[in-house]
Every structure is written in structure tokens, then in C-alpha cells.
């Protein structure tokens, strides 16, 4: 007993000495880093935890989304990272592989509801058979459409497009009604947006962009579905069915055209529902799954995982937070009620999906969705200088589809080979 006390005191002194996280008068202080995309709900989650847990205090730091990987990576490499981090699942393979996160495998499997977690999330947080993060918040990409514009163009809003040809046709009809209306919108200079909303078109048609085990991955951009999908977007652009702002939109103004009420179709995720309801309540909203070339559907299963830094001195307190935040009551009240898709199937289908049609679609798409698994996700896809963004730019806006694919295929191979 006394021994434990001494150790606890020593640990406290050490922690205070490190300055990373102090523990005084019986309260353990934990630091939690999250990306700015989560600012809508995460403060509420943290406040609720702090209220119900007098002995643990979580200090939340919001990091601008475009700097998260860099800031978190450099901080943990230098030993000054937070205790807890909410990490975009797309980046989980990188951090899981690098050995800076605590191994949660044993503790996670003891949770009674482990089997309820989204499989794609679990897969992205796993490296070499070990689990380094638990699902935290869910998201899925779907195609939103403006039912008023559909009606104005003589289209049936209850019969949304189910193939690419139908998307093009519907976009043409809406654009033809004039008044500056346009059929379709996407951010042309945003790798993260495109992997979320464009890649599912390729998946739904049976194609993919990466193959192989994490250690020996290679790009598969030469598959015919990639060229078809690029041709599909190029057709939308070349037929002037997409607002001219698209090529220079790096994601920061992605909602603006659809919010103006003049764009008929726009794909985004669950977080978009909140943004659209808040910023553009006058736009009548409906959603459908992202279709493949000739049918089929797919979606990017996104969102965040919650992980503990290996260097944290408060592993147990951090785990207490994870257990609390993945509990059914919390997922329902602080995620589902705010429109964030709960990452537990039981909660998602019991409380969230019944609320409305769009939520049901989002839940279905998340639990059927896929994600990109690569330790080089940032360099391959999100990096604005990277091959994914460059390929979209050259192929979609300039129409150089074959050469854009060829260049990106060789650039992606180069990234995966070097280090």
C-alpha cells in the first residue's frame, strides 16, 4: 500500500517535472488533441467527461486539420505529445506502424461491445495484428442533392441517380433550366475531399487505387475503373455542369456553391448535414449512396480513432476516457444526437438511424464502407503536391486522362519505394 503510494507520488513528481501533464490534489490531468473538423462536438464530449469524472481532468487542444499529422507527429517524435489523440482513421496506419501509440489490443477485446465497432475503423487502427486505437467518431460519404432543383428540372426527387450516366443526365437537365443553376460540384484542388467523395465511385465500380500488404503496397491506378471515373468527372466539367470555382477550391469553400441553392448535387459526409442545416436551411436536402459506373454503391468509412500515446504517464486514466466515450449512452447522446454517426452498430441502428432518412443512409454507408489503408496516405493522397491531387487536376480539368494516370502511377510507386 505504502509502496504504491510512493510510486504514485514519484510518478506525479515525474509527470509534473516533465511538464506534459500535471497531477496535483488527486486530480489527473490528461491532454487530448483533436483536429478542427471535430470542434462542433468534441468540446461537449470533453466537458461531459470532466463533469462526471472529478478525479480526471481532460484538457482539449484543437489543432488545425491541415497541420494535425505534422504537429502530432513531430510532438510525439520529440516526446512532447498529448496523452490522448483523436486521429483521422486515414492516418492511423502511419501512427500505428510507427510505434508511438499504446497497444490497446488486450483491453479492447475485453470490452463487451467490441464486435459492435465498425470493421473498417478497426482495420485501419490495426498494424501487424495489434490494435492501436478504438473508433471514436464515424462518418461516411454520400451524394446530397437539392430536391427543389430536381423538381424544377422535371426530375423526380424520389428517384435519385443510380449510375454515372444518370448523374450526368440529371446534371444536364438542371443546368439547362438556366438562372445560373449547375448540376454538380466537387472541390477540384483537395486531395482529402476527393479520396472521401471521388474514390467511392471507383470502389463502387469494382476498382481500387492501392493493393498489397502494408509493407509491400503498390498503386493500381492503371485499372480501367480509375480511367472511367476520371472520364466521368471530366465529362461533367467539359459540359459546363460544374461551377468554375472548382479547380482552385482546396476544400475551404467546398460548401459554398451547394449552399447557394444553385447546385443540384454535391457529395460530402455526415458532418456536411450539420453544416448545411446551419448555413443553408433554405436548401431542401436529400441524399443517396454514391453509385458505381453501372450501379452498385460504395462509401468512404471515415471519422476518427481515439488513441493513447505510448509515452503517456496516465495509461489507465486515458483508457477510462476511451471506455467512457465508446459507451452506448455517450455515443448516443454526444455523437448521435449531434448528427455524428455513432461508431457502434448497436447504437447507430437503435438510436441514430431511425431519426431520419439521411441518418439511416449514412449509417448504412458507414457500416458497408471502406477506407484507404496506407502508412503513406498523406504523401499519396492528402498532400497538395502529391500524385492524387495532380492526377485529378490534369485528368478532370485538362482531359489528359491517360498521361495523368501514367504519371500518378509512377509517382505513387516512387513514394511507396522511398522513405
Amino acid at each position: 500500500m505504502r509502496r504504491a503510494l510512493v510510486i504514485a507520488l514519484l510518478a506525479g513528481v515525474l509527470a509534473a517535472g516533465c511538464g506534459a501533464s500535471g497531477s496535483g490534489n488527486g486530480t489527473t490531468t490528461l491532454t487530448l488533441w483533436a483536429r478542427s473538423d471535430e470542434s462542433a462536438f468534441i468540446a461537449g464530449v470533453v466537458n461531459a467527461f470532466n463533469h462526471s469524472h472529478p478525479r480526471i481532468h481532460i484538457k482539449l487542444t484543437i489543432i488545425p486539420v491541415n497541420n494535425f499529422v505534422q504537429k502530432f507527429g513531430i510532438a510525439v517524435a520529440g516526446g512532447s505529445g498529448p496523452d490522448l489523440a483523436s486521429i483521422d482513421v486515414a492516418y492511423m496506419p502511419l501512427f500505428a506502424e510507427s510505434g508511438v501509440l499504446a497497444d490497446l489490443t488486450t483491453r479492447a477485446h475485453r470490452l463487451g461491445y467490441f464486435s459492435q465497432f465498425d470493421r473498417s475503423h478497426i482495420n485501419n487502427s490495426t498494424y501487424d495484428g495489434h490494435l492501436y486505437g478504438l473508433p471514436f467518431s464515424g462518418d461516411a460519404s454520400v451524394l446530397f442533392y437539392n430536391t427543389a432543383l430536381f423538381r424544377a428540372a422535371g426530375l423526380n426527387p424520389n428517384n435519385p441517380p443510380r449510375t454515372w450516366a444518370q448523374i450526368v443526365q440529371d446534371a444536364e437537365k438542371v443546368t439547362a433550366t438556366g438562372h445560373g443553376r449547375e448540376g454538380f460540384y466537387f472541390s477540384g484542388d483537395c486531395g482529402g475531399c476527393a479520396v472521401f467523395t471521388f474514390l467511392p465511385f471507383i470502389w463502387a465500380s469494382g476498382g481500387n487505387i492501392l493493393e498489397g500488404s502494408p509493407a509491400a503496397q503498390h498503386p493500381t491506378l492503371t485499372e480501367p475503373q480509375v480511367a472511367s471515373a476520371l472520364r466521368f468527372y471530366h465529362e461533367l466539367w467539359a459540359k459546363h455542369l460544374v461551377p468554375a470555382a472548382s479547380p482552385s477550391d482546396s476544400g475551404s469553400t467546398q460548401f459554398t456553391p451547394f449552399e447557394s441553392g444553385k447546385v443540384a448535387m454535391f457529395s460530402t459526409g455526415g458532418f456536411g448535414v450539420q453544416t448545411l442545416h446551419q448555413d443553408a436551411p433554405h436548401v431542401p436536402l436529400a441524399a443517396t449512396a454514391l453509385p458505381g459506373e453501372n450501379g452498385g454503391t460504395s462509401s468512404f468509412a471515415g471519422g476518427d480513432a481515439i488513441a493513447i500515446a505510448k509515452s503517456s504517464h496516465h495509461q489507465q486514466a486515458a483508457w477510462d476516457f476511451i471506455e467512457w466515450v465508446t459507451s452506448a449512452a455517450v455515443q448516443e447522446r454526444y455523437f448521435g444526437d449531434l448528427g455524428v454517426i455513432p461508431i457502434r452498430r448497436d447504437v447507430a441502428y437503435h438510436d441514430y438511424a431511425p431519426k431520419n432518412k439521411i441518418y439511416r443512409l449514412l449509417a448504412n454507408e458507414l457500416y458497408a464502407g471502406k477506407a484507404v489503408y496506407s502508412v503513406q496516405e498523406n504523401a499519396l493522397i492528402n498532400d497538395a503536391t502529391g500524385p492524387w491531387v495532380t492526377m485529378l487536376d490534369d485528368a478532370v480539368f485538362s482531359g489528359h486522362i491517360e498521361s495523368a494516370i501514367h504519371t500518378a502511377q509512377s509517382a505513387m510507386s516512387s513514394i511507396l519505394r522511398r522513405g
Binding site: 505534422q70 510507427s98 482552385s248 504523401a379 509512377s410 509517382a411 516512387s414 519505394r417 522511398r418 522513405g419
Partner: protein, 315 residues
């Protein structure tokens, strides 16, 4: 004795002249003292240049993520550069930027030096004004320019519109040409004072009687400039060209802050790409490999410049 010591000093390497024992001890002691005196400088160069250089070359032969384990991949990083379009594009852009800015810096710097060379009333004021921007850091100067050329609140657009040159704010950073132009303008303003200072030193080093002799021989201003002044400035020109080229090939801060590589990363320099690879994509090994190649390129360029601009008398 004295003669031997003197010969030891002035002809230390002459073969065949074998100094006797005492002289040899003396020489050895002198060498030892000399070594002792330069050792701080050697240690400095060793710790802050040689060791990092060796480490960088070592890193470039590995897969070296910022986090996690490193593994040996030999020349893999160098081979990958061949199929990395961003590397080639950034190298091309950096060379283009250097080729644009170096002549501007030399010509404008030389012109300013001619203007403020002679002592006359008020010349000190102009020398100070021209040189002042040089003491501002690149980052501070870049941020000043970011706001000056900002389409919404920038002074530049407001002035152009007030003068009737433009009717609407100009998006300076939206095209490659205008973004490059904005950076070139900023760098010329910021660094031309230093080029001017070097040329002033060079011009003041030319004795007046050389110019007098030229005018006695009937040479006009232009002939004097071409035949007398410029040849005598050869060393200064070589120095300014080398400094401008090396500085421009290593450009980073100004593009990082002013253009952010935009539009669509068409204004990405080599050092910017090295930074992105290392600290955004965490591929430190690849960043190191590109740094090694950039260093070799700079060594070749500088050696070529030194050869081309060497003194006539040394030929």
C-alpha cells in the same frame, strides 16, 4: 640561424632542403601552435558541418521515417527521384527563379552603387534607404509583403486602383506568373541593398588615377565603363553572382510564406519540397537524398562560375 628560420618560413615545402634537428623542432612547434590556433574553427566546422553532412548522407541511404524504425535501402531514395514529378518540377522552378532574379539583382545593385558611389549631399540617406531592407529577416519581410499584396486590404491594390491602373483588386497569388513576380519584387527590394554595398566596395577599390588615365587617353564614359571599370570589378561581380545564385537556389522562406507553393504548387522550390517530404510526409531519408543532390548541383554550379569568372591573370 636566422637565415635557416627564414628559409623554413618562406619555403616550407621546398624539397631537398633538409633542415637540421633544431630547426625541425622549431617548425614542428610552429605547426603545432598553428594547429592549436585553428582548432576551434576546425572543431566548429567538424561539429556543425562535417558531422551533419555525414549523417545526412547516411540517412539518405535509408528508409528513415520521422517516427518508427529505419531500414537500409541503399540508393533507393536516389533512384526514386527519377520518377518523382514534384522533384523535377520544383528543380525546374528553382532554376527559373534563379535565372530571373540573379541578373536583376546584379544590374539593379550595380546601378544603385553607381548612383550612391560618390560623396555628395544626402547620399548617406539613400545608401541607408537602399540597404535598410537587407537587415530585415526573410520571414518578416515576407509577411509584410503578404499584407501589401493582399487583394482585400493591401496597400498595393489600393494604390493601383487610386491611380486608375486597375479597376478591381488583383489576385496576385492566383497565377504562377504573378505569384513569381510578387516574390521577385519582394526579394529584389529586400536584398538588392547588399549587392549595392558589394559593388560600392568594388568601385571604391578602383584607384581614381586609372579613370583619369583613361580620360586622358580619350576614352568616353561608356568605353571607360566597359574597358576599365567592369574588368576591374571582375572579382566583385563573381562574388555577387555566386551569392545571388546560391541564395536563390536555396530559396524557401519567401515561397513558404508568400505563395505557399500556390497556385497548385507551381511555385514550389526544391528546399520547400525537401521540407515537405521530410516534415509533412515524414520521409526524412528521401529529404536527405534530395539535399545531397541539391548540394552537389550547387557545388557544380559554383565551381563553373568560379572557373568562368576567374581573373584574366590567372589564365
Amino acid at each position: 640561424m636566422g637565415a635557416i628560420a627564414a628559409s623554413g618560413r618562406s619555403m616550407p615545402r621546398r624539397a631537398g632542403s633538409r633542415p637540421r634537428g633544431r630547426a625541425r623542432t622549431l617548425r614542428r612547434r610552429r605547426a603545432l601552435i598553428g594547429l592549436l590556433l585553428v582548432s576551434p574553427a576546425l572543431a566548429f566546422v567538424g561539429v556543425f558541418f562535417f558531422v551533419p553532412l555525414v549523417l545526412m548522407i547516411w540517412m539518405s541511404l535509408h528508409r528513415w521515417p520521422l517516427l518508427g524504425h529505419t531500414s537500409w535501402i541503399g540508393l533507393g531514395n536516389y533512384a526514386a527521384m527519377g520518377s518523382d514529378p514534384v522533384w523535377w518540377r520544383s528543380l525546374g522552378f528553382t532554376v527559373e527563379y534563379t535565372a530571373i532574379i540573379t541578373p536583376i539583382l546584379i544590374v539593379v545593385g550595380f546601378g544603385l552603387a553607381l548612383l550612391v558611389r560618390r560623396r555628395r549631399r544626402g547620399v548617406g540617406f539613400f545608401r541607408t534607404v537602399f540597404f535598410m531592407p537587407y537587415v530585415i529577416g526573410f520571414a518578416a519581410a515576407s509577411y509584410m509583403f503578404v499584407w501589401l499584396i493582399n487583394p482585400g486590404v493591401g496597400l498595393l491594390d489600393k494604390t493601383l486602383q487610386a491611380l486608375g491602373v486597375t479597376s478591381a483588386p488583383v489576385q496576385w497569388l492566383s497565377t504562377r506568373t504573378s505569384a513569381l513576380f510578387a516574390v521577385v519584387l519582394m526579394i529584389v527590394w529586400k536584398t538588392v541593398g547588399f549587392t549595392m554595398l558589394l559593388f560600392m566596395g568594388g568601385l571604391q577599390g578602383i584607384p581614381d588615377d586609372v579613370h583619369e588615365a583613361a580620360s586622358v587617353d580619350g576614352a568616353g564614359r561608356w568605353t571607360t565603363m566597359r574597358r576599365v571599370t567592369l574588368p576591374l570589378l571582375r572579382r566583385t561581380i563573381a562574388l555577387t553572382v555566386i551569392l545571388a545564385v546560391v541564395g536563390s537556389m536555396l530559396a524557401f522562406d519567401q515561397f513558404y510564406i508568400v505563395t505557399n507553393g500556390e497556385p497548385a504548387n507551381q511555385t514550389l522550390t526544391v528546399v520547400y519540397w525537401i521540407y515537405n517530404s521530410s516534415f509533412v510526409n515524414f520521409q526524412l531519408g528521401y529529404g536527405a537524398a534530395m539535399s545531397v543532390v541539391l548540394m552537389v548541383i550547387l557545388m557544380i554550379i559554383t565551381a563553373a562560375q568560379l572557373y568562368l569568372l576567374r581573373d584574366q591573370t590567372e589564365r
